[in-house]
Structure formats: C-alpha cells, structure tokens
C-alpha cells in the first residue's frame, strides 16, 4: 500500500497522544516539559506532511517559525524551572501546591 498523507497523520496523532499521556501522568517537571516538546513535534510533522501533499511550502515556513518559538519557549521555561528549584529544592509537581487552595 502506498504511503500517503493519512499515514503521516496517524503517526503524528499517535505521537501527540504519547506526549499528552506524558504531560498528564508524569510528575517530574522536566519530563513534563519534554513531553510538551513531543506534542509540538507531532504538530510539526502534521504541518510538513500537509505542506508536502498539497504542493505548498507555506506549511514548512510555519514549521520553521514553530521551531524558533519552541526554542525561545524552552529557554524561558527552563529558566523558570531553575528559579523554582532554587526556592523549593524540588522539581516535582506534587510539591508545588501553594496555589492550590
């Protein structure tokens, strides 16, 4: 069977689901962050495959911007995690409940 758009979309959907599962079930802030990167990457894969199969390069430019924004976001997020760790000595989401009640 020829590999078409739907095959790439299925891979992208499964990868997104894996990332979501990681975000919801893992308890370590850094691993949660890596799962977020996984979800971003699955969106990139979907955009690139749409771009390829529609003969249109706009999707690839969008992916380029997404990668740039993701790099900036990772830098800011990791700086936040480091600042948080300095205050609390923990990177575990269950220890960070001061805004819960």
């Amino acid at each position: 069977m020829n590999v078409g758009l739907e095959h790439y979309l299925i891979v992208s959907a499964l990868l997104f689901a894996l990332g979501l599962l990681g975000v919801i079930t893992r308890r370590n802030l850094i691993v949660i962050y890596m799962s977020l990167e996984l979800m971003l990457n699955s969106a990139n894969l979907a955009l690139v495959s749409f771009s390829r199969f529609n003969d249109n390069l706009n999707g690839q430019v969008m992916v380029f911007f997404i990668i740039t924004v993701a790099a900036a976001e990772v830098a800011v997020g990791l700086a936040l995690i480091v600042a948080l760790y300095r205050k609390r000595q923990s990177a575990h989401v269950e220890d960070l409940t001061s805004m819960k009640y």
């Binding site: 020829n2 590999v3 390829r52 900036a72 800011v76």
Partner: protein, 168 residues
Amino acid sequence: MATDILFYVLAALTLIFGALVVANPFSRNPVTSAMFLVLTIISMAGLFVLLHAFFLAAVQVLVYAGAVMVLFLFVIMLLDLKEEERRKIKLMGLVAGLISVGAIVAIFVRSLLATNPGKDLAEPKAVGDTATLGKMLFTNYLLPFEIVSILLLVAMVGVILLSKKDLK
C-alpha cells in the same frame, strides 16, 4: 518501494522512542528520557527528509537535537536530579489521563476516517530546499521573520533576568 519501507521503519522508530521518553520501564532518570527524546527528534528528521523537507530536517537536528536538548541536559545536571523515587501513582490521575488521551485519539481517528485525506491529490512536487524556503522567508514572510527575531531577543533578556541570583 524503498521509501515506503523507510517510512514504516522511521515511523516505528519515532513512536517507540517517543514511548520510551514518556514511560521507560527500566529507568526513571530524566537523562534517559532526554536521550530518547534526541533519538525521537532524529528519526523525525528522517521523516522530514522523506517528505522532501530537507531544510527543516537539518534545522530539526541542529536546533532541537543540538541546542534545545543540550539546554535540557544542562538544566537536569544543574538541578542534580536524582533518580525519581517511586511515589504512589494516584489511580484517579492515571484513569483521568488515560481517558483524556483515549478521547483525543478517538477524535483523531474519527476525523481521519470521516475526511479521507490525501485520496485525490496530484503527485506531490513541492521540495523544501534551503533556497526556496529562504526566498519565501525574505519575501512573503519578512514581517513574521523580523517579529520572531524580536521574540528571541525578548526571550533572551527574560531568561537572563529570571536566572539572576536575587530575583526581585
């Protein structure tokens, strides 16, 4: 067809490594997750090459597998995270997570089945090499390109401010 076999191999590798990032049965060390995330990103760059997005494949390896993951590893080692001790997993959380992931997958599968994508498309010709993408970036997408550069500057200043010793 060789490219079809390559697609299946790379897709399987991407999904297996992605699963090992999220839930590794042998190790709960964040460094292991980071290493498997690097492998996921590299096999996804292979998928990009199959989709003729050569520039993006290179950027994926350089920016993600290079810069971003080095940042992750730096922070993991800076925080000196020990092997995550096994806390009791809350059953409610696990059930809620599995239900929401199942719902998302169900929505994806339903919409894929309903729309039948890619059935009557012509043979694709778009090739994302550096020259073409660069021309687009500096003509149609010039304003977003400049805005992104300002975003990077803002992010850099913010990170420096956040990681100063006495946060005020």
